[in-house]
Amino acid sequence: MEALVRAPAPVMIATAAIFAVALFKSRSRSVPAGLIAGVIAGCTLPGNAPASWQTVITHATLHSAHNDLFDALDTLDAQPGVLLGRHIWVTGVWRPPDRENLATVSQRVMACCAADAVDIGFDVVPTHIVALPAGTRVRVGGIVNEMLRQGETRYVLRDAVVNGSNEGSSGER
């Protein structure tokens, strides 16, 4: 259920049990058809979550989560002068550049379900072309810069080095 919602398995099993009991208690003739339709609908879902419906957010949104990426964005929100122009390392998920957007390193914050999931992180300008596929877990080190794009201040890691954290080697070529 991680791709769709962030819910513990026991909660979802209990929910399914309540709906199943309610359906069977209703003695409706459409129960088997409903179950078959549900199984077919479940089979049509993708195995992994698609990209978030938003572009990557480059400011802090959650104070309670602690890791290097969120801590850096929290610091940038509170005191930008402390980090601007400095070299930092952050960990997250890699997304290669496209025609409209720079490459990004981000982490997904999901409050309830995939519909409200937002990717929070940094734009990245690497020193070399990075051959890692989208979705790879990476560790990125670069100099923090700010950039104005479409009226929004965005934070960029320039001259960045991108390491795939799974293999522990450089993904650059």
Binding site: F19, V21, L23, A41, Q54, C113, E152
Partner: protein, 291 residues
């Protein structure tokens, strides 16, 4: 001798309407060169897949709250617990409200308005996440705007006469029938709203930064996020605190999910009253934040 239909001819047309539409679409598509049709067909199929994914995500995400709401409301009806009080304190926001709103029909209009509006906007979970994500100042403004929306809705509902179907719906006699009835109504209401939100999510994919308060209210109303997620989205999408508050209040009091529930349970006039109250609360809340 004229043919005698067991159903009206319109019903037969409606049954084949979808098939006719698909056929007309295919014929229209076939009249264009494949180089034009195929890329658009792929884009439409991708959008439809995203709509389907988001719809399922919302349905699965809301399922525990719908089940818990129906279960708790069925128990409360059976045990004659004060349902409005329960609704105000239940930390399940408007997902669970879809399930237990019909059981509030028999409460006093003002009391059911308080339960629904305050329960969706200022339930304990929503207040906790607002304090954690937006800070104590925005928490205070959320509570003030929520109280204004609640008071205005309660005042309006007390003046508006009950719709003809209210109170005449089938009274659930036992626990299982009550549970099935409430869960069924909740799933139906939520599915309509989730469909609207999923279409909006799939089509509106660009950045929303720089939107004004009016557009933020519209986004909140159509997106209709859970009360545990609205503060997070407000902080991610909007920079100005006044716009964040408008988004949060519209997302809980003016949203399609809430309005569909109110319309289905309490009628169109009371839904319009709740809508007006929410708009006034958004305006006052924003003015307070910018003061």
């Amino acid at each position: 001798m004229p043919l005698r239909f067991r159903r009206s001819p319109f019903t037969y047309l409606r049954r084949i309407g979808l098939a006719v539409l698909v056929l007309v679409g295919l014929i229209a598509a076939a009249s264009f060169p494949p180089a034009i049709v195929v890329p658009r067909a792929v884009a439409i199929a991708t959008d439809l897949a995203r709509v389907w994914f988001y719809f399922c995500s919302m349905m699965v995400g809301a399922a525990p709250f719908l089940a818990a709401g129906a279960l708790a409301a069925a128990m409360a009806v059976r045990m004659r617990v004060a349902l409005p009080l329960f609704a105000m304190l239940f930390p399940g926001c408007d997902c669970s409200m879809n399930a237990y709103a019909p059981s509030l029909r028999h409460a006093r209009p003002g009391l059911s308005a308080v339960a629904i509006v305050w329960g969706s906007c200022c339930n304990p979970l929503a207040l906790y996440t607002t304090a954690a994500v937006l800070g104590p100042r925005m928490l205070m403004y959320r509570m003030i705007a929520g109280a204004i929306a609640t008071a205005l809705t309660a005042a309006a509902w007390s003046k508006i006469p009950a719709p003809p179907h209210a109170g005449t719906c089938a009274q659930p006699h036992n626990f299982s029938r009550s549970l099935v009835d409430l869960a069924g109504r909740g799933v139906t209401s939520f599915a309509i709203a989730a469909g609207v939100s999923a279409v909006f999510l799939a089509l509106r994919t660009h950045s929303m930064h720089g939107l004004g308060p009016g557009a933020a209210a519209l986004v909140g109303a159509v997106l209709s996020p859970c009360s545990s997620a609205d503060a997070l989205l407000a902080r991610a999408l909007f920079a100005e605190p006044g716009t964040q508050l408008v988004f949060v209040i519209a997302a809980q009091c003016l949203d399609v999910r809430q309005l569909i529930v109110v319309y289905r349970s309490f009628g169109a006039t009371r839904a319009a009253g709740a809508c007006c109250a929410a708009i006034v609360a958004c305006c006052i809340g924003r003015a307070l934040v910018q003061r």
